[in-house]
């Protein structure tokens, strides 16, 4: 019995390792690419003298491509989008979890539909609107349009977190003399912190990774890394090592964020244990 269990354990481990290699292969490939000297890019053997030249070029803005600026833009826009979505979305999620009101389900569904409607279907009208409203190529415009991605995610996921809390917790607070608002901020909100951490990370990654919106709705001022990194492929000949270095650098913020809130993530995923 135990022998059989152990065998399954090994098989599971082996499968996980296999998947791990498979998943990390593109990143490893890019790392190799970014460390190769420019003249050995297309060689297929792995012995080469590693050089950080590509990173120096990318971070030093030396090819006439303001990568650092793109990077900062990405940070500003993604953090801004998540922050705005939290401010708007948490109360919305709470309200929709606690009360049925006229049209509440339709509202929630409309919000969800933003997620499954392809961005490309709305991008042209949005482009025209943004041009007219002066939102084209601005932080405000980017943060706003990213709400299409981050807001439904935050509202829908947080809604289920709030629904998992027994309403009696807030009702007890009401009876204790707290107002509705205080019951939300002091009772409900602290209990869904793990959920907020998890959903913020997800929303941040989605916002950070978005390509179509910055591609169409920004040019030089508010352009993000996803589009910006592409610039290294343009010009007279594609500079794959620079592109790889740029891509790897742009993986860093989501990765750091995931590592720092990992503790909450695990708790966030094993949530639902609050019920007494």
């Amino acid at each position: 019995m135990t022998g059989r269990k152990r065998l399954w354990g090994w098989l599971a481990d082996a499968a996980l390792i296999l998947y791990f290699v498979f998943a990390l292969f593109p990143i490893a490939w890019m790392a190799i690419l970014s460390l190769k000297p420019a003249d050995q890019l297309f060689s297929t053997y792995f012995s080469f003298t590693p050089t950080l030249d590509a990173y120096r070029t990318v971070l030093g803005d030396s090819e006439g491509i303001p990568f650092v600026r793109f990077f900062v833009n990405s940070l500003v826009v993604s953090v801004g989008a998540v922050a705005l979505s939290l401010v708007v979305g948490l109360p919305a999620a709470y309200a929709s979890a606690r009360w049925r009101f006229k049209g509440s389900e339709n509202l929630m569904f409309t919000l969800l539909s933003f997620r499954f409607a392809p961005e490309l279907t709305v991008i042209i009208p949005l482009f025209v609107l943004y041009q007219k409203l002066g939102l084209f190529d601005t932080y405000v415009g980017m943060v706003w349009v990213l709400q299409l991605i981050t807001l439904p995610l935050i509202v829908w996921i947080m809604r289920s977190y709030f629904a998992d809390l027994t309403p009696e917790l807030e009702q007890a607070a009401l009876l204790d003399g707290y107002t509705r608002k205080q019951a939300f901020f002091r009772v409900a909100l602290p209990l869904v912190k793990p959920g907020i951490a998890a959903v913020s990370l997800l929303a941040f990654i989605f916002a950070w990774n978005n390509f179509v919106f910055p591609l169409i709705l920004t040019s030089s001022q508010a352009q993000t890394v996803t589009v910006g990194a592409l610039s290294f492929l343009g010009g007279d000949r594609p500079k794959y090592n620079l592109t790889a270095a740029a891509a790897l650098v742009s993986v860093v913020p989501p990765l750091l964020l995931a590592l720092t809130i990992q503790r909450y993530l695990v708790r966030g995923l094993s949530f639902g244990a609050v019920k007494s």
Partner: protein, 362 residues
């Protein structure tokens, strides 16, 4: 003095596309100061809705709620000074027991808001009363159900509420904890003298704790009275059936000219009061009011006997009567299946109800 009064209290739930549901249909209740009233009924009878309306957690469709003579309808829950111990305790998981208790005292704008020392003093005081002193620093997750219930009670009491509402306080406890917690609950309520409503579906809980009991069904109070009144003279078939364990024997029959009720061709029981001949009635005889006697009495056949050591439950079949007759026997009873016995009922303890309306004829 009347501490709490309900006047024609009503609650109707309306939702689009569905017929309106009358959860509570005009309830009148008066609680004397310090009284413990048990609101007893099956699930869905409107007892919890009534409780939530008193607490201010549910809007009122019609009628009035008066606390200390003043209407509280329309006032938000936080302005009513009513304490509730919730069925699921509703303890705040990240806070310790002491912090849970002081949580309410720290609410902004609370009349009874005190200084830090004052809060600490009151927490210590209530912890002493409710016997929580040694678990004050524990988190709710680490407590037993009985302890959680005591913390929930203490939290409701610490603000010195005008009215205390207990929602199924013992339903999540195991048998042993239920007995001790019930005794504790009674002692604490007596000591502190809070006007209390206890909502429960468990008759034992209501009978043992309450000064008076209101039996509810379908949003209407069926009977209001002391536990003995409810037990001794149930107002209708529902109350008779709901209160008492094992449940009362309800047997339909026809009244005869000589003061009996005929259940079948050969079976008849004496009636405690005059009933017009030929009237259709239902008699209710509690298992504990029936006796297995040697010679006289109605002949019956034993279909089952469950010895419960200190007593026993015998199920009998009467000739020509579809429903079985349940009899509580003494510990000495030794009954075999298909044994022939005779059973007698004390007419004074026999309840008679109208067959149509179910109301008591007494």
């Amino acid at each position: 003095m009347t501490a709490l009064e309900l006047r024609q209290l009503r609650k109707t739930y309306r939702s689009r596309g569905r017929p309106a549901v009358d959860a509570v249909r005009g309830i009148d209740l008066e609680l004397r100061s310090g009284e413990l009233l048990g609101l007893l009924g099956p699930s869905g009878c409107g007892k919890s809705t009534t409780l939530r309306m008193i607490a201010g957690l549910e809007t009122v469709t019609g009628g009035d709620i008066l606390v200390g003579g003043a209407s509280v309808v329309g006032r938000p829950a936080q302005d009513r000074n009513i304490g509730v111990a919730f069925e699921n305790y509703a303890l705040y998981p990240p806070l310790s027991v002491a912090e849970n208790l002081s949580f309410g005292l720290r609410a902004r704008g609370r009349r009874t808001r005190g200084s830090r020392d004052d809060i600490a003093r009151r927490v210590a005081e209530i912890a002493e009363r409710v016997d929580l002193a040694d678990i004050l620093q524990a988190r709710p997750a680490g407590l037993s159900s009985g302890q959680k219930q005591r913390v929930a009670l203490a939290r409701a009491l610490i603000r010195e509420p005008d009215v205390l509402l207990l929602d199924e306080p013992l339903s999540h406890l195991d048998a042993a904890q239920r007995d001790t917690t019930r005794r504790e609950l009674k002692r604490i309520q007596r000591d502190l003298g809070h006007t209390t409503i206890l909502v429960t579906h468990d008759q034992e809980e209501a009978l043992s704790l309450a000064d008076r009991i209101a039996v509810m069904k379908d949003g209407v109070i069926q009977q209001l009275g002391t536990p003995y009144e409810i037990y001794d003279s149930p107002a209708n078939v529902f109350v008779a059936d709901f209160v008492g364990e094992p449940a009362v024997n309800l047997l339909p029959g026809t009244a005869t000219g000589d003061g009996h009720v005929r259940l079948s061709g050969t079976v008849a029981f004496a009636l405690p009061l005059k009933v017009a001949e030929g009237r259709e009635v239902v008699i209710g005889i509690r298992p504990e009011d029936l006796e297995l006697s040697g010679e006289s009495g109605v002949p019956a056949r034993v279909t089952a006997h469950e010895p419960l050591l200190e007593s026993g439950i015998a199920t009998l079949s009467l000739e020509g009567v579809a429903r079985p007759l349940v009899v509580l026997t003494g510990p000495e009873a030794r009954l075999a299946r298909d044994e022939r016995v005779r059973v007698t009922a004390d007419p004074a303890l026999t309840h008679v109800f109208d067959a149509e309306t179910g109301d008591s004829l007494r």
